[in-house]
C-alpha cells in the first residue's frame, strides 16, 4: 500500500485509470456493511406462549400412551374410551363451529353435512378394520413395536405444524403436516395391534384419530385466540397427562414433567440467551429483493 496517494483521489469506480495500486485500502472500505439491521430480539413471554402449542402436542401423545397402557393392562374398559372419544369429538366440533361463527352460512352448511358423513364413514371403517389391525403385527416381537412406535412419535413431534392459523386465513387452510399425522396414526396402529381384543383396538385407533388428526387442526385455530385460553388449555392438558401417568410409573412421570419444563421454560430461555451470538451481515453484495406493486400482480 502506498501512503502517498491522497484519499481524495480514490473513487469507488472501475472505469477510471487510477493512480493508486489495485490493493489500495480506502478509508471507506466496508462502509456499507451493516450488522443485524432488522433485528428484533425475541422476548421471553411471547416465546413461552408460542411453545404452548408444542406442550399441548406432547400432552396429547403422553395421554394417548397412558391410555394405551391402561387398555393393555385391562385397567380401562374399552367401551368407556369409545364414549370418551365420541364425547371429545362432539365437544371439539362444537368449539370448531363456535370459531367458525363469522364465516358465511352456505359453506358452513355444506361442510357440516360433509363432516357428519365422513365421521360416520371413519367410525364404521375403523370398526370393520379392527380385527385385521389386531393381528397386523402378530408375527413381530413387541420390542420392535415399542422401538418403531417411539421413532414414529418422535417423527410426529418433529414434523408437526405448530403455527397458529388466524381467522382470516381459515378459507386458505391446507393440510400442512401430512407426514406428521401419518407417522402418529401408523404408530397408533402398530401399538393397537398389541391389544388383547377387537373392541380395545377399535377404541384406541378411534382415540388416535381424535388426538392426532382432529386435535392438531383444532389446536392451530385455537392458538390464534386468547393467550389466557392457551395457557389454561396447556396447563390442563399437561396436568392431566401427568395425573394419568402417575399411577402407572413414577420415572416416566418425572420424564414427562421434565420435558414440559424444558419445552415451556428452558428452551425459550436458551433461545433468548443465544441471541447475543447473532451476527447478521448485510451489505451491497446481498441479492436485492424486488419490490413489485400488488395491483400489477393480481390484476
Amino acid at each position: 500500500m502506498s501512503q502517498e496517494v491522497s484519499e481524495e483521489e480514490w473513487e469507488r469506480v472501475l472505469w477510471k485509470r487510477k493512480p493508486y495500486p489495485d490493493n489500495y485500502v480506502p478509508r471507506s472500505f466496508l462502509s456499507s456493511l451493516s450488522r443485524n439491521p432488522n433485528f428484533r430480539p425475541y422476548t421471553y413471554g411471547p416465546l413461552v406462549l408460542a411453545s404452548c402449542a408444542i406442550s399441548q402436542h406432547l400432552a396429547a401423545i403422553f395421554i394417548f400412551l397412558a391410555t394405551f397402557v391402561r387398555l393393555k393392562e385391562h385397567y380401562l374398559d374399552p367401551r368407556v374410551l369409545v364414549w370418551i372419544s365420541t364425547l371429545g369429538f362432539i365437544v371439539g366440533y362444537a368449539v370448531w363451529e363456535l370459531l367458525l361463527y363469522g364465516v358465511d352460512r352456505k359453506t358452513r352448511n355444506e361442510s357440516r353435512s360433509k363432516t357428519i358423513k365422513s365421521s360416520i364413514l371413519v367410525f364404521l371403517a375403523l370398526m370393520s378394520l379392527s380385527p385385521v389391525l389386531k393381528t397386523l403385527t402378530a408375527a413381530t416381537s413387541s420390542d420392535s413395536i415399542w422401538a418403531l412406535s417411539a421413532f414414529l412419535f418422535i417423527l410426529n413431534v418433529l414434523l408437526a405444524d405448530y403455527t397458529a392459523l388466524a381467522l382470516e386465513n381459515y378459507r386458505r387452510e391446507k393440510l400442512t403436516s401430512v407426514l406428521s399425522i401419518n407417522a402418529a396414526i401408523s404408530s397408533s396402529v402398530v401399538l393397537a395391534s398389541r391389544l388383547p381384543n377387537d373392541l380395545s383396538v377399535f377404541a384406541l385407533v378411534l382415540f388416535a384419530v381424535q388426538s392426532f388428526a382432529m386435535f392438531p387442526i383444532l389446536r392451530r385455530r385455537l392458538q390464534s385466540t386468547d393467550p389466557l385460553l392457551q395457557a389454561t388449555l396447556t396447563a390442563g392438558a399437561c396436568a392431566f397427562s401427568i395425573y394419568a401417568t402417575w399411577a402407572l410409573s413414577r420415572t416416566v412421570t418425572y420424564l414427562f414433567t421434565f420435558s414440559y419444563v424444558f419445552v415451556l421454560f428452558l428452551a425459550p430461555a436458551i433461545l433468548v440467551w443465544a441471541q447475543r451470538f447473532k451476527n447478521e451481515i448485510r451489505g451491497t453484495w446481498d441479492p436485492a429483493v424486488p419490490r413489485i406493486n400488488e395491483t400489477s400482480l393480481f390484476s
Binding site: L14, W15, N23, L30, E280, T284, W285, P287, P290, I292
Partner: protein
Amino acid sequence: MHTMEAVRIAMVCDFFHPNVGGVENHIYMLSANLLRRGHKVVVITHSHPPDRVGVRWLLPSLKVYYIPFPAIASSATLPNFFTFLPYLRSIVLRENIQLIHAHASLSSLGHEGILHAHLMGVRTVFTDHSLFGFDDAASILTNKLLEATLRNVDAAICVSHTGRENTVLRARLRPSRVYVIPNAIIAEQFKPSPNTTATQTSNNITIVVLSRLAYRKGIDLLVATAPRICAKFPNVRFIVGGDGPKLIDILQMREKHLLQDRIEMLGPVRHSDAPKVLTRGSIFLNTSLTESFGIAILEAANAGLYVVSTRVGGVPEVLPPDMVSFANPDEDDVIRAMAEAIEIVSAGRHNPHRAHARVRGFYGWAEVAKRTEKVYQTVLETEPYDFWTRLQRTLDLGTFAGPIFVIILVVDCLFFAFLEWWIPEREIDKVQMYWNHQRFVELAHEYEEQQDASLCKDACDSN
C-alpha cells in the same frame, strides 16, 4: 514490453472451454494476454468425455490439461481434498510451474490447487468472480471452505470493489492482500451498427433485455414493468433474448396484455450473436438483483446502447454516470429510470459511437493482464509462509474447522511424501518446447493489422 521476467503459470479451474460462461471466458482471455506478454500459461480443468480428454491446445498456443474427474453438478467436480494431488504434482513438475492461479469460489479443483501448491514451492493467486451471501446454509458451508482454502493464499483478485468487500468478509482475508482488477471485453466484438447516426431522433425506441431468465436476474421486475412502459410510451418496443425458468412468466405477461407486437422474444441467444441483438436496440435494460461485475451492461454500453440498470452489487462501479440510469429494485423506480432513459435517447443526447469509443478506452484485456502480472510479481517477491505458520494459521480457522483442516494439511503432506517416493521427480520427463516469443509477437501483430485493415474496409464500404 517486458516489465518482468517470464513466469510459468497454471490456471486451475473447473470451469473452462468447452463450457461457455463468464469465468471460462475470463480465464481464456487472461491466459491469451499473458502469453502475449511472454509468460508461459497452462490451464488445468476437468475432462469432458468423450472428446475433451487428455492434453489439448487452444489458439494461441494455450495448453489445456483435462484431468479425468467426472463433473457432478453444473460442471463442478466433487470436492475432496487429495485426489487432485498426483495429477497436479506431475503437471507442476513437468511444466516447471511457479505460480498457480485458481478461479471461482465454487471450483473444487481451484481450491485443491491452492491447498497443494505449497508442497511444490509454488505460489498461489485466487480470483473470485461472484458474490455470496452469509445467511443460507449453502453460503455458510462454501464460505467456510473458501476461508480454509484462502487461509494461506498469497493474493486474491476480485472483479469489483463490492466483490472485494464480500470476499474479504467471507474469507476473513487481510484487505491489502486482495486486489481489484475488473473484467474486460473485446471491444471489437461489440460495435454500434455503422448506420446509427450520432443524433438519432427517430421516434421508435427499442429496449433490449439479454439475460438468463431467472429470479436472480430480476425477471419479476421486468414482467411487472414492461406492460406499464409499453402503455406509457407507445413508441417503445422490447426485444427479450435468453432462456430460463422465468421465460413462461414473460410469455404470460405478453399474452395477458396483448403485447405480442411490442415484445419480441428471441429465445436462447448465443454469446457470439449477442452483438447483433444489441445493435438492434438503443436502450439496454438490466434488472439483476445481484451482480458481481455486470459484464452484460458493459457489453451493451460498448455496443452504443444507453443502459438502465438496478443499483445492485458492483454494477454502479462499472460505467460513468452519464451512460447509465440507475434504479432501485422497485417497480416504480425502474419505470422512472426508464422514462429518464427514453427521454435522453429520444432527445438524441446519447451518442452511440462516442459511448463505444469511451468504453473501449476503459476496459481492455491487455490492461487486465498487465495488472494481473503486477500481482504475480508482488507475490513472487514476497516470502512464502513456512510450514509452521501455515499450520498455525489453519488452526486459527475455528474450534471445529481448525483441527479438521490441520489434519487435511498434514495428511496431504504425507500423501505428497508417498508420491515423492513412488514417482521420484527425476523420473518425470520435463516438457521440452520450442517457443520463439519474438516470432509469436510478430505474428500476433500481423494478424491484428490484418483485422484492422478489414474492419477499416468494412467501414469504408458501409459508408
